[in-house]
Assembly symmetry: C2
Homo-oligomer: 186 residues x 2
């Protein structure tokens, strides 16, 4: 495992806060900053992606593959162009990853019926099974995260996450998500 240092993490003299370097003199409120939420989000997201990462590593796949697999699974028959739009990457980037997934028999490309330029994307049976496995892992983590929270918390979290998204991107994302819950503006 080389050089990384888990055991020692946070071991010793954190927060020495040497008075030799005084507060650099901001007039206003640094202290009101929501550091705890920022950091919780950072670590929560890291662990959230960590579960699938572990499984995918066995297949020699990475997070890029996961994203592609996920959105193809969720949008069977999606056009390459639309997938690029969702992922926000270039087709050159997608190209490599997609090729690997196709070669591995995870994703299948089929010519469009109406437009024969299209290579519509579908998960294979294997791909579908893998996608479901990965989502189940994330489901477990989400369920565990909701344990013990007051009634309606799932709805609160859903709305919180939606409102974290850029307002102008929300309509498209809502369409994409097709949540079974009502996330319309109040």
């Amino acid at each position: 495992m080389a050089d990384v240092n888990f055991k020692n993490a946070l071991s010793s003299p954190l927060r020495e806060n040497d008075p030799g370097l005084p507060d650099s003199g901001e007039a206003s409120s640094d202290d009101a900053l929501p550091y705890d939420l920022v950091e919780l989000l950072f670590f929560a997201y890291r662990d959230f992606t960590g579960d699938p990462d572990e499984v995918l590593a066995k297949f020699e796949f990475g997070r890029a593959h996961h994203r592609v697999l996920h959105f193809v699974e969720r949008n069977p028959g999606i056009m390459v162009t639309d997938l690029l739009g969702i992922l926000g990457i270039t087709k050159q980037s997608l190209g490599r990853v997609l090729k690997q997934l196709v070669d591995a028999g995870i994703i299948e490309q089929r010519e469009g019926n109406h437009d024969r330029r299209q290579r519509l994307l579908y998960t294979t049976e294997t791909g579908h099974a893998l996608a479901v496995d990965l989502t189940r892992l994330q489901q477990k983590r989400l369920e565990r995260a909701l344990i013990g929270l007051p009634d309606g918390s799932e709805e609160t979290v859903r709305r919180f996450l939606l409102q974290m998204i850029d307002p102008d991107a929300r309509p498209d994302i809502l369409k994409l998500i097709r949540s079974s819950f009502d996330l319309r503006d109040r």
Copy 2:
């Protein structure tokens, strides 16, 4: 902007769901999977990191620099070893990024008082200002995300995020975070 495709995102025939590829015959429940939460988390986190990314790009810095800056700002006088532990990367990876931050006058290294092997890390005045700016951006987004949610939602979100984290990592992370809110187990 080359090849990326935002405008066209989610344009056309998503969800064609060609009946030529039938449901691959899973006996059990695919439909119960929390796709909406998974995707909301994905997009929320992307936009959350997007704000700082934009600012940092002007300085030729990336997300790696942000993480280092953030945790040094939050833990003035932190040892290199402890920072590695928090970030979960190798010292070779940190080395490059840290050098750039030091060269740019964002972070300062000072010899430990008690242990002269240590190069304790501090933000400079410039670095502090930048760190505060970036956190303010994230603060705005978080505040906007909490608008209109029921009383106690911030607490719910905080606890949700904490419980998303691997249970065995939580104690260390709680120490690190030093939230002003009570996140002890009930």
